[in-house]
Symmetry: C2
Subunit: 682 residues, 2 copies
């Protein structure tokens, strides 16, 4: 440990303390304890170029204990990371200034309370909800392996990056990290390194009060390499642990570091160090212990930034420029692959990818939307080689397997496969998919809609990060039938629709499925939930009815009154659109003029100009009936005060679908009756 | 293994096969493989009386792999379990008839697709979503230990029941079971036994494709006792394993059973055995293998029901009657405790429990609702000794610690404590609380509202089971402030409100908090989510304003126009009610007549008679403004087409609350301006 090492570590600590103190809010404990580990990783190991923080083969650093954000902000400031939009090019400005640090946790500061992807250059993923970072890191490691398998050639190593995640006791307790660790162990992701900050203190007290398992033994059981650092301040042992990780070729590595929360402060080793400033006196006392001038705020000694520039900066620049040189040669040798890689980085799709999208002929018997989606997904994935994914052990039911030649399985002995087996681990599946999306691949994962509950926290993060993860949910209603209420979603659509930025699609027939995928595959800055039926849905006769391309506008007129303004509008999504059509036919036969609006994506409809919205739902037609086999919550916006909603007001039941439709009132007779009553009432 | 053992096991298998075949739907694989284990447990060990399946000291059996419901239905049929409502008395009728089995998975059959609490007597908890059953079983085991500590006396052992849960590979992969197992190991719940049906086959194939961890080693790391049964058909070894469990006094036990999915069938050991009938030929072939008459459907050989009656039936009756005798003596010795126990069983509260509920004087500065709730919760818990709970490592923030004398901590060396430390394990916390509620205690758990996402699947089950679990969520909006968008809920309220049967409360001040708890503590058949602020809320002057007892009706008029009908109504919940009041005062000063409606619980308001609802929200007043720091989804129902909603349309941001209120438009000026515009518009 050189003087500059010590000086650098304590400079980080000082900045973190000061930032939290000035904000009078934040979490100083972990930065104080883990500064030496983060410093060693960044300065000596991390292959990261502050001048180009989105260089594709950089190592990834994930701060899974995201409340320690001050640690990351200090590192990004000291290394002088440049501003970048992750999907585009590097801009010149330093991303994190001393002023940003001084306005930690204030509006518009680049140093918010938790790391936010897109908002601060150098942040690889949004973290804060515990366990998410480590689970996401597994997806990054998978993506790294897959990219290597696809793009590396005997003479070109384009991808060999490592993924590091820093995790605390909280991350280790969360179920999602258990799922992800089990999967990572199975997949033998030797490019993955979790650093477990074992300070044995959580908010409620010492971990002895609730967390006494043997974490090392647990990870060995998952098939990980486990190594221990007895003292977080021992830079030599920390380095040795990272060398151990780099030497490991068969297993992911857990580095268990014994650390001291709030190191050097009066509240060291106490829960008090976790989430509150030390106070002006505490900060001064700590600075005295650490040899920092006690009254100098945000003190950066001469030589420290330069030391970082000579360490991580010089190493990163060298590696990145060498990579660029390699890539230039690669482009000459493999122009098609190089083009593909550049498109991936820019989040563009291959030219003409839409050509193979299937259209489906009218068919009264039709097919389940999970089936049509399976066909469309295969067409998309065949045209876009970096679309890959899998299911939480439900592929035969969700129909998401890629079956074309060469699709294969992603397994320890084949890193080029495009079908992943996530296991019965929905939460990890969604987080892993996020990690793959952050590495610019186009991942999907699938499960039953009811199990979106298990994955909700990771779905939310995909929306918050504005990344195009595709969440595929089948078995979307009481249409599940005999499996009963535990498996029949009711409130899930409402919860997903309420999530800002998430596009929720519930297509009505096979051609709406195709149009859904046309939108979804092209998404660059938004995730989508594609909600599909278990049961067969008729494929509508589009010669007679509105074109399925209306999906892109969120809602469209599928069937209309023969002439003039309708007396009543029937709105529906998914499997209930056919039901609305049947009711429409009944009403038409009676001489009641009705319109059917298919509404596969509320979010897209809400973004249309008022003119279009008024065209689909004319304000003058206030008699409206919405039909959806889910909670009625939210539909009032479209049916208005004079309308009615045929939806679910209770949980479902275990019975064949036909019985359930009658039991819960999803019949053409009921829907037309509700419409009839509305018309008669006024 | 006697002839009757073999005959019984194969009778169960035959019934399961036939039930699935007749339904042409269901999961025969696990029942075929695990019938010998379930049989051995029930017939030789389980302390369960079919004549009184809710006897308080019965052992609990949880079918965590709920898709194997046919196994449970067969056992309940063969043992002749009587009908019972779990909260009340035993009725005479057999709960599961042969006709029920024959109508497996049909509407109104007592044998639905997955076990449903309340619907079928003998079902201890609703299962199906994997991992939930095992996690819930931990709560039952905790409750068992707590009941023993509270009620047992040197001369009276009222509680010493064991909890068994049958789990498959899927349960073992789910994160929630990892959380729960880690907690159970820490708490040294020696009355808990998980039976791991390791058939190594899941829906996508052999577990080798994704689940290769060493489960036994993992559980040893959690601090469990682990024992293995090499052959699920070896009743002797199975019995020995249960004896091992019973002899263990320090740790929970995992019995790892190597089994064969679809045992005896043509699809044995294949994923095909999991979720589809064997087909008529397959059933016949299997019956021939197992010595069941191949053409006899639902065959129950003479002697089998009687054999069960002489086994589990006789044992259970003897234990139960002995317990009742003991309890009679106990009642004489400890009348108060006996009274308490009887109230617990009937889900009644102590007389006069409400007397100590605090009321709060008007205070413009006020206090955070998490703080007032902490005070009220302590008053409730002091009056109701079986109220207990804790937090997912956030007690100092959620203010849910019980601080009165003797409350203590529930820990391995003190089973009488009322404060639990769930650790950073929200999902398990909610499931464990469900398990405690199923054991008739009145549990709560707490966390930040954002982390309701982690626990959603268990929250849903509390609603589906209609059990009074209390979910306490603080930090309920952008009021979180500096922690930023990862910690600021937006869509969570909508998702919870859409859940059938869940009462969601967002009280506006300290007295609404008291009234919320008055409703919540008395709930017997519904769970509640109590949603609370981090920041201080003024305590309203109730002499001037509507009474807080309006909470019980879901919504009420808090402030009104001086005379006549208001021109505009302001609706709000929680922290936004004070904001609406401020806007109301601005409008009043301008001569605009407005009304403020506090709306802490939509669900209760929706249940009021139309007359009351029209009184609070007169249909003639169509100018309405809703204010809530959350997704606007759902509010249209109350504001109507002519109204406006001031809500969140994006995620939040990291900054002090004051900045955020301006940034996102939650100011009296903005609200009054929106109201003013509505009034002006016509």
């Amino acid at each position: 440990m050189t003087d500059l090492d010590t000086l650098s570590v304590n400079t980080i600590r000082g900045l973190c303390m000061d930032a939290v103190q000035k904000a009078n809010s934040g979490h100083p404990g972990t930065p104080m304890g883990m500064a030496p580990v983060a410093y060693t990783l960044w300065q000596r190991f991390l292959r990261f170029d502050p001048d180009d923080p989105i260089w594709p083969n950089r190592d990834r650093f994930v701060l899974s204990e995201g409340h320690a954000s001050a640690l990351l902000w200090s590192l990004l400031y000291l290394t002088g990371v440049r501003t970048v939009d992750p999907d585009y090019e590097v801009l010149g400005r330093p991303a994190v200034t001393l002023d940003d640090l001084k306005s930690f946790r204030q509006l518009d500061s680049r140093c918010p309370g938790h790391p936010e992807y897109r908002w601060t250059s150098g942040v690889e993923t949004t973290t804060g909800p515990l366990g998410q970072g480590v689970a996401t890191s597994v997806g990054m490691a998978i993506a790294g392996q897959w990219l290597a398998a696809r793009f590396n050639r005997d003479d070109f190593t384009l991808f060999d990056f490592d993924v590091y995640a820093l995790a605390g006791d909280g991350c280790m307790m969360e179920g999602v990290s258990s799922e992800a660790a089990s999967l990572a162990g199975h997949l033998r992701l030797s490019n993955l390194c979790w650093i477990y900050d074992s300070n044995r203190v959580t908010i409620e007290g010492h971990t002895d009060i609730t967390f006494t398992e043997d974490v090392a033994a647990r990870f060995l059981a998952y098939g990980w390499n486990v190594t221990t650092v007895a003292d977080a301040n021992d830079l030599g042992r920390i380095s040795r642990a990272f060398h151990t990780f780099r030497a490991e070729t068969e297993r992911p590595t857990l580095i268990l570091v014994h650390s001291h929360i709030g190191y050097g402060s009066p509240v060291e080793d106490s829960p008090k160090a976790h989430g509150a400033p030390f106070g002006p006196e505490g900060v001064r006392a700590t600075k005295r212990v650490l040899g920092i001038p006690p009254d100098a705020g945000f003190h950066v000694p001469d030589g420290v930034p330069d030391w970082f520039a000579r360490g991580i900066g010089a190493r990163g620049a060298e590696l990145r420029t060498a990579w660029e040189k390699t890539f230039d040669a690669y482009r000459s040798a493999y122009p098609d692959l190089a083009d593909e890689l550049e498109r991936i980085q820019r989040r563009e799709l291959p030219d003409g990818w839409e050509a193979a999208l299937p259209t489906f002929p009218a068919d009264p018997k039709g097919l389940a939307s999970r089936d049509s989606s399976g066909r469309v997904l295969n067409a998309v994935a065949k045209a876009v080689p970096w679309v890959l994914g899998g299911s939480a052990d439900l592929t035969p039911s969700t129909k998401t397997r890629l079956t074309f030649g060469g699709a294969g399985d992603f397994e320890p002995d084949d890193r080029s496969g495009r079908n992943l087996h996530f296991g019965v681990r929905e939460h990890a599946a969604a987080a892993v998919a996020n990690g793959m999306a952050l590495t610019k691949l186009r991942p999907y994962w699938s499960g039953f809609l009811i199990f979106s509950d298990y994955a909700k926290a990771a779905i939310r993060l995909s929306a918050l990060m504005e990344i195009p993860t595709v969440h595929i949910f089948t078995h979307d209603s009481i249409g599940v039938g005999e499996d009963g209420p535990t498996h029949q979603p009711v409130e899930q659509l409402a919860g997903l629709r309420a999530t800002p930025g998430l596009l929720v699609f519930r297509p009505a027939d096979a051609n709406e499925v195709t149009e859904t995928w046309r939108v979804v595959a092209a998404l660059r800055r938004a995730p989508a939930a594609v909600v599909l039926s278990r049961q067969a849905l008729p494929t509508f006769d589009r010669d007679r009815l509105g074109a399925a391309s209306g999906v892109a506008r969120g809602a469209y007129v599928l069937a209309d009154a023969d002439r003039g303004e309708p007396e009543v509008i029937l709105l529906a999504t998914g499997s209930e659109v056919a039901l609305a059509l049947a009711a429409h036919e009944e009403l038409t036969a009676e001489g009641i003029a009705s319109r059917v609006v298919s509404m596969p994506c509320w979010e897209l409809f809400d973004r249309q100009p008022r003119e279009y919205r008024d065209q689909v739902l004319p304000p003058s037609v206030t008699r409206r009936v919405a039909v959806e086999e889910g909670s009625t919550l939210g539909w009032d916006r479209y049916v208005g005060g004079a309308g009615a909603i045929v939806g679910m007001h209770t949980f479902g039941a275990s019975a064949p679908l036909k019985q359930l439709l009658t039991e819960f009132g999803f019949t053409p007779e009921r829907v037309s009756q509700v419409a009839r009553e509305l018309v008669a009432s006024g």
